[in-house]
Subunit: 321 residues, 2 copies
DNA sequence: TCCGATATCGAGACCGGTATCGATACCGGT
DNA sequence: ACCGGTATCGATACCGGTCTCGATATCGGA
């Protein structure tokens, strides 16, 4: 008991003995056992993060933000991937809950009932991220995807565009991209405008996919003055296609992505985007969990809205050249 | 005890009772406690992964590969970030070891002695990844960074290039990039060739940084026919600079990166790169851990070399357009 | 010198499971 | 009817810590 207290700085131990215990621990290379600690104290230092994928840089940056928010607190991140699959999401979350984490950060608001029930009854503080269109279980950090799509539509309309196309990937899986498209089209409809054409694919998001989809889209006609892509990757691929085929961007067609990836600022041509505060979303989500852990409440009922920023002019590095 | 056996499919329970227990568990929404299970059984289902950063897509893909290798086995990934800092690495690894993970995957072979000792004496199977230049603790998956740099140098020489420049980021932190540069210069030296000039910066890797470094590099002279960048991000930034300034790539200067990121294939201009099997490295590392867990050995002494592939012609999508 | 307050220490219970092993019931064969 | 073997079940110890609380020592003040 005295040794345990000494190693934890828990007080009630004489300075002399603290030092003796510390030294002995160093000598034998003692590494405390968190499994036992957690079982005994009925709490863990684990914070779970469930994202669809890490090879998508957006979620990788969210994880990075979470790690940043946790850093220095002694908590430890655990991650799980869902591959955009509801069943895997359920299993992943169940697996995490069996470790009784201090908190759980889950992507999206649209979990199936089973999953919601599991989370709600777990007693673990839950923060959902990247969306605001729905009913959070506890807390929630992000922005309305629908509104984000609508905001971009309004900005583009104000910029004089009238003939819009839509090109998207992973349409069957990426709920948030679907919401953006919905918001986008709704805002256009308010001005009595419809999409000229759209082209979607179930393929995974990538620059290459964006390139080939854009080729296909434009081969069916050059009848648009703006394309709204489901995200920046696709839009960048679209730009590369245009560059290779002498299509003036943004002169003839403005390409519009989503997320505000770093690459957008460095591109030789301007493309429009919405900057999403991904790292910050992760960081704030982690902070909400930490608050809930320290408060007696044990609930993380806090909603934080972090709006994306529409950027038609993508303050580019180019200007420095 | 009977309930425990029923839920684990451990046998010695009548089918009738198995069903009764299962049903009762469902009814009350029982979620087993892995903390207790682990303490009792003296093993966990956790596999730790320590990487420098997740916002670097390369490591995000390694994590993705690890998750892929683990998928369906009941194991769970835990991740830790080091920010390329040896002290944070030590603390992160210590934190993970305190959970007595089934295995640990650590980036790089060049941990300080303290850290090596900690890992070696932990009794946990360790697999080091992304490097082969050094002495692995247990197992090791990756390739020789030095040789990767040399291989690219030889390929470029064979391709007729003679006047080489080097542009790099994060020079003080990224040991692996340093090794590549070393291998690159050594291979040049074997042909009696030296770098014409080099420009390095401590700034973090990004496309923008690559762009501005390249601007600075070329403003000091157009006296090279090839630039070796510390990685693809920097090289892509370099390309964007060249495109904006009418520099013919690869006609006047060939740009050379490292990693073989997806974007390279989709770019309007050709840049050279080495394709690294990042996802596969993660997957194989996970598999080695799993083997060690199942074998009695409890050691993961297996070395797998997954060579990068030099690609001067980056089979580009462009050709399809 | 005596007393209550404070500092320090450690015995014992406990966290929620699993490993072990003995108890019981039932079975078919002789 | 007796016997060894198998199926099923549960009592008990244990995993490695922490929590609680009582015991002891020490100290300043009356």
């Amino acid at each position: 008991m005295t040794a345990s207290r000494a190693l934890r700085n828990a007080g009630d131990v004489s300075p002399l003995n603290v030092e003796k215990v510390r030294q002995a621990a160093r000598d034998i290379g003692y590494v405390g056992n968190h499994v036992a600690t957690s079982l005994s104290s009925q709490r863990t230092n684990l914070i779970g993060a469930v994202v669809p994928s890490t090879s998508n840089i957006v979620f990788a940056q969210v994880l990075s933000g979470i790690a940043e928010g946790i850093a220095g607190t002694g908590f430890q991140p655990v991650f799980g991937l869902t591959d955009y699959d509801a069943e895997r999401e359920y299993e992943t979350i169940r697996g995490m809950l069996s470790w009784r984490p201090a908190g759980l950060i889950v992507t999206g608001l649209d979990q199936p009932d089973m999953t919601r029930k599991l989370l709600a009854e777990s007693g673990v503080p839950v923060v959902q991220i990247m969306d605001q269109d729905g009913d959070p279980i506890d807390g929630c950090v992000g922005f309305s995807q629908t509104e984000a799509g609508a905001a971009m539509a309004r900005a583009l309309l104000a910029n004089g565009h009238r003939r819009f196309g839509y090109v998207g990937c992973a349409v069957d899986k990426d709920t948030r991209a679907m919401k953006r498209r919905l918001g986008f089209e709704t805002a256009l409809a308010e001005q009595g405008i419809e999409l000229v054409r759209s082209l979607t694919s179930g393929m995974a998001t990538s620059i290459e996919t964006g390139r080939s989809l854009t080729r296909q889209f434009l081969s069916e006609g050059r009848d648009v003055d703006c394309i709204y892509f489901s995200n920046d990757d696709i839009a960048v691929g679209g730009l590369f296609h245009c560059m290779d085929n002498g299509i003036d961007v943004p002169g003839e067609i403005l390409l519009t992505g989503f997320n505000g990836l770093d690459i957008v600022k460095a591109l030789p041509n301007r493309i429009a985007t919405s900057h999403t505060p991904r790292r910050e979303i992760g960081r704030v989500a982690a902070e909400i969990i930490l608050e809930a852990v320290h408060d007696k409440s044990q609930r993380a009922r806090k909603v934080v809205v972090l709006e994306p920023r529409v950027d038609l002019d993508a303050e580019r590095v180019a200007s420095q050249d």
